[in-house]
């Protein structure tokens, strides 16, 4: 049978991901009831949702305009495009160290620059206070993942026939009108894919949080994945760690199904 070609790939995925996930379900389910009693978890889930919502919104607001700019023809465009997509390809955990250095209160450039510009009178302890630590996390994440939205938008822009835009221009449509009437509707399927992936990955964020803030100060930046890690590797509570994992996975699956409906429902295939 020809479909044998699919077998080794399927076996690896089933063996390494599907079976372990299925095997974890019973121990997770028996601890599901504890989710409701955990006040820490409520705070951490709220952190995660706030972080994901704000980050993904900012990535869309920045990613689409960046893609529109990079879609134009100009000299050195290849180099500029490569630089713009660079953060997406760089290792999160490694660049998180770079951001930790940038946000350092005594020696960091993010603390020094506002003082030189006269915007602050003393060093800002970016990672030392709950609100600024949360903001730092969002800045570093937006830096890292806006390129992903820009990449998908740019690829979609390249498939839009130029005559369509030109026809609108001849009909007297201004740039803003052309963007909202022609470009944005045609971008929508790509944006829906981008938002789905980004939401799911933002909710599952670990590397950046772990290295940049460790979840602190005082749990202010702790996210679900970091909490799961602590429950399992610090407290050895496998059942509870799995329960949170299952609840998160179900939420992610629901998001992707809902977004999938949205893509198919609104855009012609």
């Amino acid at each position: 049978m020809k479909d044998r070609a699919l077998l080794p790939a399927a076996l690896l995925l089933i063996g390494i991901i599907a079976l372990p996930l299925a095997a974890a379900v019973p121990s997770g389910v028996s601890s599901l009831a504890r989710l409701g009693e955990d006040l820490n978890l409520r705070r951490i889930a709220a952190n995660t949702l706030l972080f994901s919502g704000v980050s993904v919104a900012l990535e869309l607001l920045l990613g689409v305009p960046i893609a529109l700019l990079l879609h134009r023809r100009f000299r050195l465009r290849g180099g500029v495009r490569a630089t713009a997509i660079l953060p997406w390809a760089l290792p999160s955990a490694v660049m998180a160290m770079s951001w930790r250095w940038i946000f350092s209160d005594t020696f960091g450039i993010a603390s020094d620059l506002p003082m030189r510009l006269g915007l602050a009178s003393q060093p800002i302890p970016w990672l030392g206070l709950p609100a600024t630590a949360f903001a730092s996390l969002i800045v570093a994440d937006v830096w890292k993942t806006t390129p992903f939205v820009a990449i998908l938008s740019l690829a979609a822009l390249q498939t839009i026939p130029r005559d369509l835009d030109e026809a609108m221009a001849i009909d007297g449509g201004g740039p803003a009108r052309r963007f909202f009437m022609v470009t944005l509707p045609l971008l929508r399927p790509a944006l829906a894919v981008a938002v789905t992936f980004r939401l799911i990955h933002a909710i599952g964020i670990f590397d950046l949080v772990w290295v940049l803030t460790g979840g602190g100060p005082a749990n202010a930046t702790k996210t679900l994945a970091v909490y799961v890690y602590e429950q399992y590797f610090l407290f050895g509570d496998r059942g509870y760690a799995t329960a949170i994992t299952l609840a998160t996975a179900v939420a992610m699956f629901a998001i992707s199904v809902a977004m999938g409906r949205l893509i198919r429902g609104r855009a012609p295939a």
Binding site: P8, V94, S98, F107, A225
Partner: protein, 273 residues
């Protein structure tokens, strides 16, 4: 848009995107006493490569690099070996059936690695493969396989089926056809996909952090995150910056080389859907 604001915006994008990397480059080239100067100097007053020599002489950075190389190369090889035949088959199958199977594969890419952490760790421990590069290679391969199948399927669909039909008439067996006709034609796509999978494995943190506990086996991202001193004033930021630069440099080179492909080939599937 007028020329001046356009150029200004492009410069802003470049500065913002390259900024953190460039700041690490500048920090890595300062002598130790200048790294810990408050307020910081923006351009190094004196250039020094001591941070670079120190991470190799006083830290096991060379070992971390070697470990990362072994894991990334191993998982990339495994991914291509499994993905190429599967993707070719999917591309030559009836479209409706292929889409269903492709979705099945992509479902595995839905969850970020941190979410799969507990089941993955339990499974690898049950296999007795914690603290081994093989365990990490298997997990990285499984995590990246769906992506590779997806991009390669999109590529094989663009490849004219007539070439394969002609080769079949010439007497090639199915496996001979794949090895001697299809894969050579797919070399550029295999290389591009392979380089990206290599980068993803090179970059991966949370699984490597948990599966590998022995320092001598650690990969670069985990090793860097653990470079530390006793107090805030002892965190070796010069060395860390040098390690950041050396770890990200190959990725920078790969992105410069693959920019065009990332913006067209990689996303073909997502956009044309």
């Amino acid at each position: 848009m007028r020329r001046a604001p356009f150029i200004l915006l492009i410069l802003l994008i470049v500065a913002w995107s390259a900024g953190p990397f460039l700041w690490s480059v500048l920090t890595s080239l300062k002598p130790a006493h200048e790294v810990f100067r408050a307020p910081p100097s923006y351009l190094p007053r004196a250039l020094s490569i001591e941070s670079y020599t120190e991470i190799f002489e006083r830290r096991p950075f060379g070992l971390y690099l070697l470990n990362s190389l072994v894991v990334a190369a191993g998982s990339t090889l495994l991914v291509l070996l499994l993905a190429a035949p599967a993707a070719h088959r999917l591309a030559r199958m009836r479209r409706g059936r292929a889409v269903g199977l492709e979705r099945g594969f992509l479902l595995f890419a839905l969850f970020p690695p941190a979410v799969l952490l507990v089941p993955l760790f339990t499974a690898v421990r049950a296999l007795g493969l914690t603290n081994s590069h093989l365990g990490l290679i298997l997990v990285h391969a499984a995590l990246n396989l769906p992506f590779a199948i997806w991009t390669l399927t999109a590529f094989f669909r663009e490849l004219p089926v007539e070439i394969e039909e002609a080769a079949r008439i010439d007497g090639f067996t199915p496996s001979g056809l794949l090895a001697r006709v299809v894969l050579p034609l797919a070399a550029p796509a295999l290389a591009a996909t392979g380089i990206l999978v290599f980068i993803f494995s090179w970059n991966e943190f949370v699984i490597a952090l948990t599966l590998i506990q022995r320092d001598a086996l650690r990969t670069v991202p985990v090793g860097i995150s653990m470079l530390s001193g006793a107090t805030v004033y002892e965190i070796p930021w010069g060395q860390i910056s040098a390690a950041v630069v050396l770890t990200t440099l190959p990725v920078v080179a790969a992105v410069l080389a693959l920019q065009r492909w990332i913006l067209s080939g990689l996303t073909a599937g997502a956009v044309k859907g």
